[in-house]
């Protein structure tokens, strides 16, 4: 099967998942207790006629499935409605926060891979030696450290005690040196646990590949040890790491919820927390949906990466 057909096939299987995700996001708000009209009118007493007209205006008098389809139509055109709390459009509100979350997520993700993959390779090659032990202990500590605690400690030490960085984000554009400097601590906080997971996974995966016959075969052909390790064993080891690294993209958004609070980072995580406490459901809906879509896309990319790395996967079906 060609890579194109494989891609199409995988993309098509994402459609039902997407439908499920939108239905859940939609249902979430309707499962929440209370009448949206109460929220709209600020829990004031209004006469039934006004209530009815408001219901009609927001299509709340229609059956649930029609409301769902209408909502899906709006969402598909990136029309998320307006927030009953702030009165602002939901779309721009979320979009304004998105770059901050992406910037933090991507830099944390890259940092964790940049640490985890080499550390895992070194540990696997060193198998049982001092470097392996150091990476084992480091990974254990990294996994066991809660990110909110790590964030607070880093802030306290480097922000309060040493005064090297600001405690809150500077008033500067996202793509500026000040901002980049400020992002160092939240990035480390968010990346630590993932780096630890990637290290362990890379090590075990590489270890398993190094036992395989083709590695001995590559040595028997007189290839350089660097080629044997980095061209042959590494590429075969990557499938497991790609799975986790891909799915971690979604987890990074979750992690951002906590880390953004600690660092007052104006991203989606902070927006989500604020909106939940304000019962600002359209915003919650939009953010949750965005996270769901990101997860689905990450999954799809993981599957495509598999097919690129391992030809057996694209030939197999």
């Amino acid at each position: 099967m060609s890579i194109v057909r494989y891609t199409l096939r995988r993309a098509l299987t994402s459609v039902p998942v997407l439908i499920g995700a939108t239905a859940l996001t939609f249902g979430l708000v309707h499962l929440a207790p209370g009448d949206p009209i109460d929220v709209l009118v600020g829990f004031d007493h209004v006469d039934p006629a006004t209530r009815a007209s408001l219901r009609a205006e927001y299509n709340l008098d229609r059956p649930l499935w029609q409301q769902y389809l209408l909502w899906v139509r709006d969402v598909a055109t990136l029309e998320f409605g307006e927030s009953p709390i702030t009165g602002r459009d939901v779309g721009p509100t979320v979009a304004g926060r998105l770059p901050h979350t992406i910037a933090l997520g991507v830099s944390a993700w890259l940092l964790s891979l940049a640490i985890g993959i080499p550390a895992g390779i070194v540990a696997a090659v060193d198998d049982g030696g001092p470097a392996d032990e150091v990476s084992r202990i480091g990974a254990l500590v990294g996994i066991a450290t809660p990110n909110f605690w790590l964030g607070l400690v880093l802030l306290f030490v480097f922000g309060v005690q040493l005064g090297w960085v600001r405690v809150t984000p500077p008033d500067a554009p996202l793509a500026s040196l000040e901002m980049a400097w400020f992002m160092v601590l939240p990035t480390i906080t968010l990346a630590t646990a993932l780096a630890a997971v990637v290290t362990r996974l890379m090590r075990s995966s590489m270890r398993r590949e190094l036992e395989r016959e083709y590695v001995r075969g590559a040595r028997a052909r007189g290839l350089r040890e660097r080629t044997v390790l980095l061209k042959h064993a590494l590429r075969n080891s990557l499938t497991a790491v790609v799975t986790v690294a891909g799915l971690q993209i979604a987890l990074l958004l979750d992690g951002a919820v906590v880390v953004e609070q600690v660092f007052s980072w104006p991203g989606m995580g902070q927006l989500l927390v604020e909106s939940i406490s304000r019962r600002d459901f359209p915003v919650v809906q939009a953010v949750v949906l965005l996270i769901a879509v990101a997860t689905i896309v990450a999954n799809l990319l993981v599957d495509l990466a598999y097919a690129v790395i391992d030809p057996r996967i694209r030939h197999d079906r």
Partner: protein
Amino acid sequence: MALLEVDDLTVQFYTEDGVVRAVDGFSYEIERGETFAIVGESGAGKSVASLSLLRLIERPGEIVDGEIRFRGRDVLGFSQDELRQFRGNDAAIAFQNPEAMLDPVYTVGEQIVETMRAHDIATGEAARDRAISLLERVDIADPESAYTDYPHELSGGMAQRAVIATALSCDPDLLILDEPTTGLDVTIQAQLLETLTDLAETFDTAIQLVTHDLGVVADCCDRALVMYAGRAVERAPVEELFYDPSHPYTAGLLASIPRIGDGRDRLPAVPGSPPDLVQVPTGCRFHPRCPYAEDVCATRDPKLVELETGNPVPDGRRPDHASACHEHTGNLEGGLDYEVRIVDDRGNDSTDSSGQDGAVSDGLDGAESDGQTDDETAPDDPETGGDHGERSR
């Protein structure tokens, strides 16, 4: 100076049950262009002996003693870089499981080219052309498409050929083939052997062929070494091995070859199974399975000796025919009670007791053997094709 000289090679594996000597004091030589067989049952240490030549033994195994000289150079003394250049370039190997030897995520062509580049044989377009012509040389029907195939897309026979093409890519002087015909069906086996014989002649490459199949040995080998429980028990030119097997284990192996047109039920000619290498039998390692064993066999360990004189052979060299059995040092009272029956194609029968005690008796169930498996694997070997070296007991 022979191309390859192996002296007293000893390889140990450290297992949970104890130390296993998979190869114990092995000595042999391979001349330039010669095809040399190492024969034995599975578990005898044949693969270990082959991997040792390229120092591919990994933990928990270790070469603990002996010398390997290739064109006079001390292989065990090579630096990592010398070793890398030696592997694949001077001596190349094809593993027992060919598909597993190639990396599943690169195409066959990429891996052949990569091997040539590692040894500065060819690069770019020249490397590609050479790879395709090599695939053609090993009789792959569609070399262009095999070049872009991934290992898993090839059949067993094709994978074996692709691995042999890879091994030949740097014009090695020695090609080590570990069970090249195992797992292939009989017609593919025959074709592959034909290809190999051709290649050995045109490339003037010496071959060390590891097999449990004496039919393969009869077909394409010059000399052979029979291995039992990590030891060499007999070493001889192939015709002599078939016409005059001088170790009871060799005779047993010959007797166990199945033959077409032989209606009798065959019992295993060598009863029992190879010994546990953690606790090898005392004396001769074969004595618990040997029908001719006497008291002396359980106490004294026979050395590889010259047949006539009973003198120990100097490491790895002549005489041509040597065997490790007390019979040849005169320590066996009863002697080896089997005889060779040679049947030519016209069915004429002649008996050759070949210097043994000669008395025809039935040491073992009247089991009989053939110098080679019949027509399907041995179409036209000039040495043994006309006759069937046959033993009866």
